[in-house]
Subunit: 226 residues, 2 copies
DNA sequence: CGCACGGGCGACCAGCGGACGGTGAGCTT
DNA sequence: AAGCTCACCGTCCGCTGGTCGCCCGTGCG
């Protein structure tokens, strides 16, 4: 099922003391020095949370903006290219996607602010940015204006992508693969499921089957659960 | 390194009592009934070993021929296509290669004579058959005439492939990927290593470096270890 | 028949793609 | 200062791709 847990589930945390050593932050410049705990040898342990920003807008306070988020995807692409060049030189298997190996390489290269869970979490947001920058920008402005949080904006990014998939024969994998910047990212499971569910609903309407799924026009994800 | 073992190595076997149930054998028809143990309910537990046969030749006795071997690769391709169709229908990730999932599907479909270690073992032999059928046929005839065993023939299949790679800029992955029947198979590690080693040697000769590697003409793998 | 050869394939492993949810940063009151 | 919201990312898990070598089928003397 969509949300089926694995066989067993245990998540016991240990304490966390990090000793990495880097300073690079990237995109935005909110490196305010008013933090009283930032003097000794302790580096920032977590990135500032993202907030919904308009295109070109720099996040204020202890936040990062969405331009910075998308910049992280470009950085990952550059790290992938480096990993590919090294692999080719050594005659080893050459990755075509951003794999664990690439995340490890990024970390080793000092980009400790890049990590797999974060990048995978926002892949579909980056996809929208790649495939329909105008639409992506409009969505950012709308969600910023409404004062929505990042989670709500992130959820909202699914719907326009499903609409795009509908126009392209529902093949979200083909859509990702045919875009040069997007093709290196795995299609998120949830996006694939949404496309499949909406395609099934569209087929049902066209067939005239008598099941669930009201008469939603092109592009409506409507009542589908996330 | 080329032959580096994993961290630990343990291989303790249990007894083997199988209870599978199928009858299909495939290609060749050497289903001779002179085996006195073949009457009750015990099915064949292992496939007959391969022998080097000429194109079109049916293996005699309790052996399988190379046409049958190559036929197995075609069957795997058909199983992959089925797995892909099912995945697409269910909106799940669609494999582009012959994966564990495909081997599992083949077994479930009654083709219990197909298994991963065997198919991976002979991939490069199949590759030669796909890329240069004339050359492959000539090699088979030569090794059959000399009375060589399957292992020797299998080893000999590497060299002509390296020669082909040399002509195509040493990119063995591109060679596999651009052939419709071959593109669904992973490039064997050993073949990739041989191509890399030979390319390095060729570059060294062209550069005039003073290292190992005598003046071997085009296509000689020569002294390289397998 | 018994023995030696050689190769089929069960079973193993490091590491992968994928996911969850506990800390704890950060804002509001 | 205290509280409480929410999201970052450490850590887990079912498998994958890849491999080794045991076991036994097989042919020969």
């Amino acid at each position: 099922g969509v949300k089926a847990k694995h066989g067993v589930q245990r998540r016991i945390k240990k304490g966390r003391i990090e000793s990495s050593s880097h300073a690079a932050h990237g995109g935005d410049d909110n490196e305010s020095e008013d933090d009283p705990d930032n003097g000794g040898g302790a580096e920032r342990q977590r990135e500032h949370p993202f907030i919904v920003t308009e295109p070109g807008e720099v996040a204020r306070g202890k936040k990062n903006g969405l331009d910075y988020l998308f910049h992280l995807y470009e950085q990952c692409r550059e790290f992938l290219v480096q990993v590919q060049n090294i692999a080719k030189e050594k005659g080893e298997k050459c990755p075509t996607k951003v794999t664990n190996q690439v995340f490890r390489f990024a970390k080793k290269s000092g980009a400790s602010y890049i990590n797999k869970p974060k990048m995978r979490h926002y892949v579909h947001c980056y996809a929208l940015h790649c495939l329909d920058e105008e639409g992506s920008n409009a969505l950012r402005r709308a969600y910023k204006e409404r004062g929505e949080n990042v989670g709500a904006w992130r959820q909202a990014c699914y719907k326009p992508l499903v609409t795009i998939a509908a126009r392209q024969g529902w093949d979200i994998d083909a859509i990702f693969n045919s875009h040069p910047r997007l093709s290196i990212w795995y299609v998120p499971t949830k996006l694939r499921q949404l496309c499949h569910a909406e395609r099934s609903a569209a087929v049902a309407v066209a067939t005239g089957s008598t099941t669930v799924g009201g008469g939603n026009d092109a592009g409506g994800v409507g009542h589908l659960l996330f």
